[in-house]
Amino acid sequence: MSADLTELYQQVILDHNRRPRNRGKLPTANRVAHGDNPTCGDQCSVYLRMDGARIAEISFDGSGCAISQASASLMTTQAKGKTGPEVQALYKHFHDIVTTGNAPEEISDLAAFAGVHSFPARIKCATLGWHAALEALKSDPLPTTTESHLD
């Protein structure tokens, strides 16, 4: 397997792909947004329960390749407990990593995605979940409701 491919499919990515964290709908969500990758038809929904300015709970749902699934999964673990501006700042780091391949030391978890930069067509896969999360943060709060409206 080539160095590029090994870089792309790091162990942490494979792990998140096989055992996605925070996957599925969030019954208590008060924010939700949906992202599409029109190029390939991949989809990702992100559910948030905001507690004031902070993300108290987060989950994602959808379908896509290993990169997009692992990225969404890792994103949920990173975003939990953070505020909107904090998630925004994280995304900026993440975007730099997947487009340049350079990962600063302090955000080592996201660094697993540095290999994406050798596969420009996959950048959209890696950012799909993040885009949905940022959209959800910007979205209007859901009316208090039961789970069913999310179907």
Partner: protein
């Protein structure tokens, strides 16, 4: 003269390495590669004859016009059209279908009418009809595909129910770009004609792969793209029966398609000029004519046979992969030279990326077939699509690449 013996030598692009491996190009459903003769035709045109057509009386312009109209006649012969004026040059299948959907649709569709299509259409033969139906108030109906993986083909029994006299137009694909299913197009045309419906055949996947005779099919309109039949990008054809074209209003307007223009209005030339506003894609039309020569020299019936062998071999070898789900006709059934498949645990994009590492070019995604994918509970498949230059050894390379990918992701 091309010959089957060294067909691969005719295609310069095939002789390259991708990631250090010889390229195995199995993305022919998306676009075909170009033989040297087609590339040379472009060079020759731009080096010797380039000029605007139709309105010129100098030597270059006459040569360009002759070559352009010669290409039209060549393509008419290629599909056995009764008259070169039935060949309208467009950018490709999509534009050809849009032209019919707009010009014919605007003139003929009204509320209460039905446009019939099928569940297996490419977005390009689906969305334009949704738009035409919406604009006119007509209803769009779909002929269902049978089987959990579309293996049963289109539902011929349902066709009897659906083909009512309300159906004004029936648009269907000749070969499915996702399933590989070959549609009984002549029968569909016959049954459509019986209720007075106009037929539109999307021949994007069949034109370069099998003999196609528009008169034998009994088709009213046939749309195809040059780039899928060894021709250049940016050129395609709308075939229309003369009697229909003669009554059709133009779609785009401008220079070259008018007889008389005043500040108050304009009158139109007859077909084909009426449908070719502006400077046409002269060079690519001419090169498309050369692609016809190339394919006919090999023989389209031989290409179809070659494709069929590769499809059979691919079906057999792919079926041995653990967990594979092949959509479309089952092993042993007739299918065109393409195979779409999915694995529960490995996404198409990861497969395509891994195969690319092995030099194997595949396509992964919804193949412009989202509603069909959704019907099958899929979001994407991986597709290997073959053409005249592919070999059985290349299928072995494909299978090996898939095995390696499966091992990596699933560990089997």
């Amino acid at each position: 003269m091309p010959s089957w013996k060294n067909v691969r030598a005719d295609f310069p692009i095939l002789h390259q390495q991708v990631h250090g491996k010889p390229l195995v190009y199995l993305d022919n459903g998306a676009t075909a590669q170009k033989p040297r003769a087609v590339i040379d035709a472009l060079v020759h045109y731009y080096e010797r004859d380039n000029s605007n057509v139709h309105r010129g009386l100098h030597a270059l312009s006459m040569r360009a016009t002759d070559a352009y109209e010669g290409a039209r006649a060549r393509i008419a012969k290629f599909i056995n059209a009764a008259d070169p004026a039935e060949i309208i040059f467009t950018r490709g299948t999509t534009e050809s279908i849009n032209l019919v959907a707009r010009s014919w649709g605007q003139a003929h569709l009204k509320p209460g009418d039905v446009v019939l299509t099928t569940e297996i259409e490419h977005h390009s033969n689906l969305v334009p009809w949704q738009q035409a139906a919406r604009a006119s108030g007509a209803t769009l109906k779909y002929l269902p595909v049978l089987g959990a993986d579309g293996e049963g083909g289109l539902d011929l029994a349902a066709l009897d129910q659906l083909l009512t006299p309300q159906v004004k137009l029936f648009a269907f694909t000749h070969i499915s770009n996702t399933l590989g299913t070959i549609i009984p197009a002549a029968e569909f045309c016959r049954r459509a004609r019986a209720v007075g419906a106009v037929t539109v055949i999307d021949a994007a996947q069949s034109i370069g792969h099998t003999p196609l005779d528009v008169q034998a099919l009994g088709a009213d309109f046939v749309a195809f793209s040059g780039h899928k039949m060894c021709g250049p990008t940016g050129i395609g054809v709308l075939y229309g029966r003369r009697a229909l074209l003669d009554k059709l209003a133009p779609d785009e307007t401008g220079g070259g398609m008018v007889v008389n223009v005043t500040y108050e209005g304009a009158t139109w030339k007859p077909t084909p000029e009426r449908f070719e506003a502006g400077t046409p894609n002269v060079a690519d039309a001419i090169a498309l004519g050369v692609a016809c020569d190339y394919l006919d020299a090999l023989g389209r019936e031989h290409i179809a046979a070659h494709d069929a062998v590769l499809a059979r071999v691919a079906m057999e070898k792919l079926s041995t992969l653990p967990g594979i789900r092949i959509i479309g006709p089952r092993v042993g059934a007739e299918r065109s030279g393409l195979v779409s498949f999915a694995f529960a645990d490995v996404h198409a994009h990861d497969i395509v990326t891994f195969a690319d590492e092995d030099g194997v070019a595949l396509r992964g995604g919804h193949h412009c077939n989202q509603p069909l994918m959704r019907k099958f509970g899929l979001t994407s498949t991986t597709r290997a699509s073959f053409y005249l230059y592919n070999t059985e050894e290349e299928i072995d390379r494909l299978v090996a690449a898939l095995r390696r990918t499966l091992t990596f992701f699933v560990g089997t």
